[in-house]
């Protein structure tokens, strides 16, 4: 037995890889801003991942084609395929890290969590848009993590205030039963503490229906439970195959669809799964769907029509495609801001962090970049890395999502103590968590 021979083989393998990485570098070494995009066009969640990846890529590519990048500097866009797998995500991170990325979008809570402590050390901001660790909204504790425009707790509180408004006031929820069906993982379980507290405050009963990741397509027991408990409203935190299956099962047990409300990840395909009967299914959202915006038209003109992307033309304007656009819009605005603040054209991760902290996407600004009315204004600060944007409810009308009602504001009084407590807890548990030393810029 000659055990550590692996080192020899792995050295060869490693040398190969090292060599290839080294030769791959010069391509990105020109005057450009390196923006890696972590995507999952493969794997069990690719159904959502493809839309998001397309939207993210196409918006940035459009800026490259139309404006020659941002501030005259081209963006070097590189996709790294994670397959929604933490292992591959970390490999992507290590592979992109030494190419000086300005920002990392992990697009998976599992990948975000390991990156949170590394971001500060490697000086790369992490943009986990409306996923990841809710507590990272507290910028004083997590200077390098950004999770705009709303946290999962904000989302939960907004769903609840919507339900309250339907029931005629939050106090009317007393004695009612609310069901919560969720992916049995960190993401799905996150809002439970808030729900439990609100259940105490407003006197409603909370029923939990967890769905294990392996059982996503096999939910008949959960919905039998729903039939037994007869909740007045159903809330859902799902992802991937969980959502269409839940919609189908809800239709199957004749659950009133207009009382079935999802967090912001339900796509058109998910809602359509139930056929015509799923009309009335609701979901939170913070940005528009459709392709009527000048910027989206530009994407068509400069990118998709020219075949500079692998995007399926029919995907443009879909909910998750537009979410990808929103993500890239935040990146682009952050870069622009960082260029202004630092006076440099080619910015670093450190500049990007400052740029994101002073991000102010006003309505006027949205209009300027061709996304007028696409989403509400978002303003971040050193203390608030989230923005807690108000969202709206959208309803499935059988063929598309239609906005119903006005803005719903998160219950800040309920959410912010939880956020601060969670951030404090995180710091307490991670002994040696660094105090914020990064200076704070004035918003420009």
């Amino acid at each position: 037995m000659n055990f550590p021979v692996n080192f020899k083989t792995s050295m060869i393998a490693g040398a190969l890889v090292a060599a290839t990485v080294a030769t791959a570098l010069p391509a990105a070494a020109q005057e450009s801003i390196y923006v890696p995009l972590f995507t999952y066009r493969t794997g069990p969640f690719s159904g959502s991942g493809i839309y998001i990846a397309e939207g993210m890529h196409d918006y940035l590519e459009m800026l490259n084609q139309r404006d020659g990048g941002i501030g005259g500097v081209k963006l070097a866009i590189e996709e790294c395929e994670t397959g929604y797998d933490t292992k591959k995500g970390l490999e992507c991170y290590e592979a992109t890290k030494n190419k000086k990325p300005v920002v990392i979008n992990p697009w998976s809570t599992g990948i975000t969590l390991p990156l949170i402590p590394r971001a500060a050390v490697d000086k790369v901001p992490v943009l986990s848009m409306a996923y990841g660790l809710s507590a990272s909204a507290i910028g004083d504790t997590f200077p390098w993590i950004f999770n705009p425009p709303a946290t999962y707790w904000d989302g939960a509180s907004m769903i609840l205030s919507y339900i309250g408004s339907k029931a005629g006031g939050l106090d009317k929820l007393k004695g009612k039963t609310l069901g919560f069906i969720y992916l049995d993982a960190g993401f799905g379980k996150e809002p439970i503490p808030l729900f439990e507290q609100l259940a105490k405050d407003y006197g409603f009963t909370l029923k939990l229906y967890p769905v294990a990741a392996t059982e996503m397509q096999n939910q008949s027991s959960q919905w039998l439970n729903v039939r037994r408990d007869k909740p007045d409203f159903m809330m859902m935190y799902g992802w991937g195959a969980l959502q269409p299956t839940a919609v189908k099962e809800a239709v199957k047990i004749n659950y009133p669809m207009d009382k079935f409300i999802s967090i912001w990840w339900a796509s058109e395909d998910d809602a359509a799964a139930g056929g015509p009967a799923s009309k009335g299914f609701k979901s939170l959202n913070w940005h528009a769907t459709g392709d009527s915006f000048p910027a989206v038209q530009d994407i068509k003109k400069y990118v998709t029509d020219k075949g500079l992307t692998q995007t399926d033309k029919g995907h443009v304007g879909k909910l998750l495609y537009n979410r990808g656009i929103y993500n890239s819009m935040l990146i682009a605005e952050g870069i622009r801001n960082a260029q202004k603040l630092s006076g440099k054209k080619v910015i670093t991760g450190e500049d990007m962090r400052r740029g994101l902290e002073t991000l102010n996407v006003s309505e006027a600004r949205l209009k300027e970049i061709g996304l007028g009315g696409f989403a509400g204004p978002l303003k971040l600060s050193c203390a608030d890395h989230n923005g807690h944007l108000a969202t709206f409810m959208q309803e499935w009308d059988g063929s598309k999502w239609a906005k119903i009602g006005g803005d719903i504001k998160p219950m800040s009084d309920k959410v912010s103590p939880l956020l601060s407590a969670a951030a404090k807890e995180y710091v307490d548990k991670a002994t040696g968590w660094p105090k914020r030393t990064e200076a704070c810029d004035k918003a420009s």
């Binding site: 159904g47 939990l208 294990a212 059982e215 008949s220 439970n225 037994r228 189908k248 199957k252």
Partner: protein
């Protein structure tokens, strides 16, 4: 005391109070069990004839369903009017594709691996799984697709019965699933027991060498079983796809067939059916009545625990052959 009450008394009280829910639970268990049995059947067919524990059965389900839907899309794009004709044409093409897959697997994978230990063949099906994942996504893309259940003239909607103050709702598609599975099982059993090829199959299962020596063509038999498993996979894909969607996460469902296999035995077709029903009904009852005690969601492992407990008393499964070992 409270715990004992909620384990031993309360669930039965609930059953008595709401018999409609009990019947509904049993029905869901029956349907789920039938579908598990169908996947298990795919495993059993191949295991019986070649001793291969075919890990790729799950991905074959996905692949078959994707092929069906993909070809349907292609046909409608080429101008075949959408609807029943196109759907059945696509079904025929998919069957041909599954046959092609069976031939390819036999040629490329099984033939060079004749007479290798079980675990090596098992591993080879892992390789096949990887290949099919990549190939399937490469050809059909990773987008989830809607199963063309309506176009295949599978019924939709439900039949509702009034019962004891409540109602029991039977989905027509589930009824169709139960019927189709029953017909398939009957057909396969007949095929195995009564036809010439069926007898040859059983001979191969007993001993490759002996079968060869009496002039049975191993190649032919393997193509036949892999094709049969492909057909079963296609049926499974249609049924599960109609219940959810056609996507790569569908392959996870195939793990559920494994406890069924333990229970029914790896080599028994009736075992797969009975095992499927026990697991299906057992896990639904368990989840529905006892699950809330543990915070629900116990379905992911309950089936395995049922199977495991069972194993301790009957290691060869319900209908498995008792193996007498000699030194």
């Amino acid at each position: 005391m409270n715990v004992l009450y909620s384990i031993f008394v309360d669930p039965f009280m609930q059953m008595a109070q709401a018999p409609d829910l009990l019947v509904q639970t049993l029905w869901e268990g029956l349907v789920g069990g039938m579908l598990y049995a169908l996947i298990a059947l795919g495993f059993v067919l191949i295991f019986k004839a070649s001793g291969v524990f075919n890990f790729a059965q799950g991905i074959m389900v996905v692949f078959a369903a994707l092929t069906l839907v993909g070809i349907y899309d292609l046909l409608t794009k080429w101008g075949v009017p959408a609807g029943v004709t196109a759907a059945y044409l696509a079904l025929a093409v998919s069957l041909a594709v599954m046959f092609g897959l069976a031939v390819a697997v036999e040629r490329v994978m099984l033939r060079p691996l004749v007479n290798q230990p079980d675990i090596i063949l098992f591993m080879a099906t892992f390789g096949l799984t990887y290949f099919l994942i990549g190939f399937g996504e490469f050809v059909f893309g990773g987008n989830p697709k809607r199963m063309i259940a309506g176009e295949l003239s599978l019924p939709s909607g439900a039949i509702d019965f009034k019962m004891a103050g409540g109602f029991v709702s039977l989905q027509k598609i589930d009824i169709a699933a139960v019927l189709i599975v029953s017909v398939m099982v009957a057909g396969l059993s007949f095929f195995f027991q009564r036809t010439r090829i069926g007898r040859a199959l059983r001979a191969v299962a007993d001993s490759h060498k002996a079968a060869l020596s009496v002039g049975i063509s191993l190649e032919q038999i393997w193509v036949v079983v892999w094709f049969a498993a492909g057909v079963v996979a296609l049926a499974t894909g249609i049924m599960w796809g109609a219940r959810s969607e056609v996507s790569f996460s569908l392959q996870i469902i195939s793990f559920k067939a494994l406890p069924v296999l333990i229970l029914g035995g790896f080599t028994s077709i009736p075992g797969a059916i009975v095992g499927g029903l026990i697991i299906g009904i057992g896990e639904k009852l368990g989840e529905f009545y006892w699950g809330p005690l543990l915070g629900s969601g116990i379905e992911s492992w309950l089936a395995y625990v049922i199977a495991l407990l069972f194993l301790l008393f009957r290691p060869q499964g319900l209908f498995g052959e008792k193996i007498i070992e000699r030194i």
